[in-house]
């Protein structure tokens, strides 16, 4: 069996005294679409930011392509980072650059390709995300969905074998969201790309997920095949997929003021 592309071992993340992630273990194999899901505030984005090295863990470790990220300023870490793409929730495009310049940025920084070829790659990537008309536009001139697609084009510009997406469907209309999901599936089929997606959009999860990691209050509650998770009938995971409210006992406790009816 080949080594996983991404492995997280006993990850603990704290913000001050508050433990946000508590003992998270997960491994992602090549060409797998892994969805990290859970309710709001369960630590999904924190896990993703810890994986890509933006948050230093309190304990545990993260290995990307079998190597541990130590210092993002190091050239060795930069080499690992170049093998992955990250789609931020709001796109995080550089406001001072046009869409094309944003997409070209990783190519200019990390390759010695001639400008003409870079320009051609940029056009191809923009066409891939169905944004050919946004070439000369600045991020401020794009809609939310367009910004996200442009950011995806930037994340894919170096053809990374590993792609991270933070809530790709958030704030998008169902049609654009479905288009993004289809694109991710197509990328996996054509390029064999591994995708880690943080989302709580059920339609999206049902369409793309091979495996899921369900987080609940910072702890992994389910880690396995999506089909297995879908068959559960009780517990927070089942509640999530069945779109039902999680039962909280004694929600309506007796009133302390005396009522004489």
């Amino acid at each position: 069996m080949t080594d996983p592309i991404l492995s997280v071992e006993n990850l603990v993340v704290r913000y001050g005294e508050k433990t946000v992630l508590d003992g998270v273990n997960v491994s992602v194999n090549a060409s797998e679409i892994r969805v990290i899901l859970g309710g709001s505030g369960c630590g999904k984005t924190t896990l993703l930011r810890s994986i890509i090295g933006l948050i230093k863990p309190y304990a545990g470790c993260v290995k990307l392509f079998g190597k541990k990220l130590t210092d993002m300023e190091n050239e060795s870490d930069a080499k690992i980072l170049r093998k992955m793409g990250m789609l931020f929730q709001n796109g995080a495009l550089l406001g001072s650059l046009t869409t094309a310049q944003n997409v070209a940025l990783p190519l200019q920084m990390h390759t010695d390709l001639p400008p003409k070829l870079i320009d051609e790659i940029v056009r191809y990537k923009l066409a891939q995300v169905e944004l050919p008309h946004a070439y000369d536009l600045f991020p401020g001139e794009l809609s939310g969905g367009m910004r996200k697609r442009a950011a995806l084009a930037r994340a894919l510009s170096l053809d990374p074998p590993l792609l991270f997406c933070d809530e790709p469907s958030a704030g998008l209309d169902p049609v654009t969201s479905a288009g993004l999901d289809t694109l991710l599936l197509r990328l996996r089929e054509t390029l064999g790309i591994t995708v880690v997606v943080v989302t709580h959009e059920l339609f999206s999860i049902e369409k793309i997920a091979d495996k899921i990691l369900f987080l609940h209050k910072g702890k992994p509650l389910f880690d396995g095949l999506f089909t297995d998770a879908h068959e559960l009938s009780t517990g927070p995971v089942a509640d999530f997929f069945l779109r039902r409210e999680t039962a909280v006992p004694d929600r309506y406790s007796t009133m302390s003021v005396r009522c004489e009816v």
Binding site: R82, T254, R258, E260
Partner: protein, 399 residues
């Protein structure tokens, strides 16, 4: 208000309750005539029977504001008759909860009468919702804790600021041998933005300061027939002090604020994080072009400012003191030495590093949203100007 003991208690209550605009503030002094003739005592419900209050069909904030129950004394048994009440708003629900607490604290009790089922449910929901809210109690710090906290905070700030300074100097100079994550064309762009675009305002303000300074000096010097001394005065002042200082203050307001706002917006919009995840060093990508642009352009701007200021002095010398151009130039050449010009350039170079360091530090430390960006930008300008004036004062002793 005087009530006699003969006055039935119920009537007292009726009088009080009827005028719902009168709050039952404690102590609501009533002079009791009779047993307590010589005494004044606060109204105390415990001395009386149950107080029953009828609540209207709608228990809402309008009724609560008028009923005066929130400020009354509740040491007795308070009965609220809700049999007529069909609807209760959020203020009403919270009011009942709070009133219960008030009664308990003052030794009384609250009884709700004739509560409808749906209102009961609302009250129960409020209780469970309040229980779910966790608040962190405010801990009042003593003097030592405050001093300790303040010292630690100041040391942390100094540490962070020094770390940004070291990173800026490292990645702009020696770090180039390790990585070259420069924005292509960034240096020229920044030189144009930070330097060239500031030429107009720097020259104009320096000229005006030169005019004002010269005029004030000339008025005094002319009284003693020593107008010619205006030339060394304005020459030395502008070259050594005012030229570099004025440029630095203008650029601290212009470039410092722009740098902080740009970097802070990038931090808030996750652009810095995006650069990191792309394997691009944000310090080198964002700060290095600014560092070199301001280091190269500021001494030039300072020379322009000095020349403009001296030109202001020349205008006054010609128009006010009737000195000739040749005299002005020859006297100026006598006093101005190369070391004065070098001292001015060195000062402006150091000022440029201070401006870009402070601009970047406040930009990178931003946390929060748009409001935080504004706050840090303001701090950047204020601290920038302050540090420049302090540094200039220190320079006056050294060079």
């Amino acid at each position: 208000m005087i009530f006699t003991p003969e006055l039935p208690t119920s009537l007292i209550y009726n009088l009080l309750w009827a005028n719902t605009r009168v709050p039952l503030t404690y102590p609501y002094i009533l002079k009791i005539v009779g047993k307590h003739t010589s005494e004044t005592m606060p109204l105390n419900f415990s001395n009386s029977k149950d107080l029953t209050k009828k609540v209207p069909a709608v228990l809402d904030r309008a009724w609560i504001s008028g009923c005066g129950l929130m400020s009354g004394s509740h040491s007795g048994r308070l009965v609220l008759d809700l049999s007529q009440t069909e609807r209760i708003d959020s203020a009403g629900v919270c009011f009942l909860e709070l009133l219960k607490e008030l009664c308990r604290e003052q030794g009384g009790s609250l009884v709700l009468q004739g509560v409808r089922e749906d209102i009961k449910n609302q009250l129960n929901l409020k209780k469970s919702a309040s229980a779910a809210v966790k608040t962190v109690p405010f801990k009042k710090e003593n003097f030592l804790e405050r001093v300790g906290g303040g010292t630690t905070g100041a040391l942390n700030t100094a540490g962070e600021a020094l770390s940004v300074l070291v990173e800026m100097l490292y990645w702009s100079t020696i770090g180039v041998f390790r990585r070259q994550d420069f924005k292509k064309g960034g240096l020229y762009e920044q030189m144009y933005q930070l330097g060239f675009k500031a030429v107009g305002i720097v020259a104009l303000l320096s000229f005006l300061i030169g005019v004002v300074l010269s005029l004030q000096s000339a008025m005094q010097l002319r009284n003693f027939g020593m107008g010619i001394f205006l030339i060394p005065l304005i020459g030395i002042t502008m070259i050594r002090q005012m030229g570099p200082l004025l440029t630095a203050i203008i650029l601290a307001g212009r470039t410092g604020s722009a740098t902080t706002a740009e970097i802070a917006t990038m931090v808030v919009g996750e652009e810095i994080d995006a650069l990191r995840t792309m394997g691009i060093n944000p310090m080198q990508y964002v700060m290095a072009p600014k560092f070199w642009a301001i280091s190269l352009t500021m001494p030039l701007l300072s020379i322009i400012a000095t020349a403009a200021g001296i030109f202001g002095g020349y205008v006054i010398a010609i128009l006010y003191l009737d000195l000739s151009t040749s005299l002005f130039l020859s006297e100026l050449a006598k006093v101005v030495k190369v070391e004065h010009i070098l001292a001015g350039c060195f000062k402006s170079m150091v000022f440029s590093w201070l401006i870009i360091w402070i601009g970047c530090y406040f930009g990178f430390r931003v946390r929060g949203g748009a409001e935080a960006v504004g706050r840090e930008t303001t701090s950047s300008v204020v601290v920038g100007i302050f540090i420049i004036i302090v540094a200039n004062a220190l320079f006056s002793f050294v060079i």
